[in-house]
Amino acid sequence: MSAVALRPAATRSPLWIVVWAVPIAAILAVLPWVMDPYRTIQLAYGLIFAIAGLGFNILLGYTGLLSFGHSAYFGVGAYAVAFMVKYLHVQSMELFLIGTIVASLLVTALFGYVCVRYTRIFFSILTLALSQVLWSLAFKFFWVTGGTDGLRVPTPKLLGVATAESEDKIQFLSHSYYYYVLALFVGCVAVMWLIVHSPFGKALQAIRDNETRARFVGIRIRRYRFVAFLVSGVFTAIAGALWVPLNGLTTPDALVWTFSGEIVFMSVLGGFRNFTGPIVGAVVYNYLKDFAVGFTVYWQTVMGVVLVALVLALPTGIVGTAKLLAALARRRFAP
């Protein structure tokens, strides 16, 4: 896993983060007033998949485990919300999120316990097989999950405030719901930043780089992978829960293994060896796929060619390449 050499990570002083993070958050906050509603909703999708990308990448980028079944946890989030609407008649977004976290903890604990005993290709195939099990269950028990018809999820109440019937849903999605997603996005980024830069995060990277040595400094490999798996599953499920109101319907589409492939694609597009890689990757991927689907019927070719070219030419992804270029520039113009 270490064939890609990296510049030493600059020590992250809090000031350095403020210099980067605050202006970006400010721009994101202003956008709904500047951009037309459609672009804002598109960005909301990007931020949601960025949360899923962050969740996915604590496993790949930081623990060295490539999961090809993260659609399972995304789907758990989506179906948790749908079941709460169907059986508990819940309306409030906060309850949806709590329910999603509980449900995803259960599922990731079960799947995680099983998956963390394996690594490399066995881990990838097992996660894929397990996500397909969930897909077939969602498909089969149609009297519960609605099968291919799916389950309706009406507009949720944000912070207890029901949206007035008259308020146009597009306005709702491109303003109040966008800010809700933005707030959660910022929260998730902060929490993941903390986790990844905590001693626990360092231990994960140790496991990624050299499992034997990590064991011989006293780290319980399987337990740490299990916890990383839980964190990863919960983050991805939160993204699934936030994603449903945008679509208004939960269908087994979100559970198919090719959806997991898209999550992997996003992280690699951004650069999975960097914290911000999956975030940038998710936003760019969203615009890329929307463009491809809108531009031609052969959208799969467009995505396939981009993926192959990306992996061939820019293995470190957008952020990774940007950092390499920045380093080169700094070295060339340094006194």
Partner: protein, 250 residues
């Protein structure tokens, strides 16, 4: 009271008897050199004691406590640490990170989720101090994958040392390094081990190093201990010469 004792310790790989009913004893504070031709079972013995391998039969007792079947983490807590013949480092973490990880793990702090690793000033100071002792402080922020082979060998020992062990196993600490660099590496390691009275077992081939740095030498051949004694005794022992240097030795 002996520090570490193995009784009839056995490990077979099919029909090769890597470790064959070995009784191995180390006293407190000793620096023992473990020598023998390739395949004599030296590394297998260390792997059994450090927990990398499970023995087929026999017992291992460390400071009066049975550790034969204990998992690696518990042996580390008990005070056993080891370095590796083929260097095992966290290549994409910095040199200081590598050492700091041992300290975090030793202190049980790798469990902490919501505190920034950079906030543990004491741990980073101790890490930098250990790097100074090993002469690696200039390379602190370099990636472990980006430093020279000699430095990587030293760092491998430093990571083990940072666990503050009572008993340290060093698996060929100078192998793969030019002869010119062997002595300086052993000087550094020996001075640290001696100054902190750490009991150490060094697997080594280079005779000058063995005779210069070890209190006692244990010779292994085809899975059994052939001889054990002070450097002088071993130097004059005929059967050792045949086994280690081959019968036609002039």
């Amino acid at each position: 009271m002996s520090y570490l004792v193995t009784e009839k310790l056995t490990k077979y790989f099919g029909d090769t008897h890597a470790v064959d009913k070995v009784d191995f004893v180390i006293g407190e504070g000793e620096v023992v050199a473990l020598i023998g031709s390739n395949g004599a079972g030296k590394t297998s013995l260390v792997n059994l004691i450090s927990g990398l391998l499970q023995p087929d039969s026999g017992r291992i007792v460390f400071r009066g406590e049975e550790i034969t079947r204990q998992p690696v983490q518990d042996r580390i807590k008990a005070g056993i640490a080891r370095s590796f013949q083929i260097v095992n480092l966290f290549d994409e973490l910095t040199v200081v990170d590598n050492v700091a990880l041992s300290i975090f793990a030793r202190e049980g702090k790798t469990r902490w989720f919501f505190t920034l690793a950079d906030h543990y000033g004491a741990i980073w100071e101790e890490a930098h101090d250990i790097l100074r002792q090993f002469g690696l402080d200039l390379k602190a922020t370099q990636l472990a994958g980006g430093i020279s082979q000699g430095e990587r060998k030293l760092l491998d020992v430093a990571v083990a040392y940072a666990l503050k062990p009572q008993l340290l196993f060093l698996d060929e600490p100078t192998s793969g390094v030019s002869t010119r660099e062997k002595a300086p590496i052993m000087d550094v390691i020996s001075s640290i081990v001696r100054s902190h009275r750490i009991t150490a077992v060094v697997i080594e081939h280079d005779m000058d190093i063995i005779f210069k740095y070890s209190d006692r030498i244990v010779v292994m051949h085809q899975g059994v201990i052939l001889a054990s004694g002070s450097p002088e005794e071993i130097r004059s022992n005929e059967s050792v010469k045949d086994a280690v240097f081959g019968p036609t030795h002039a």
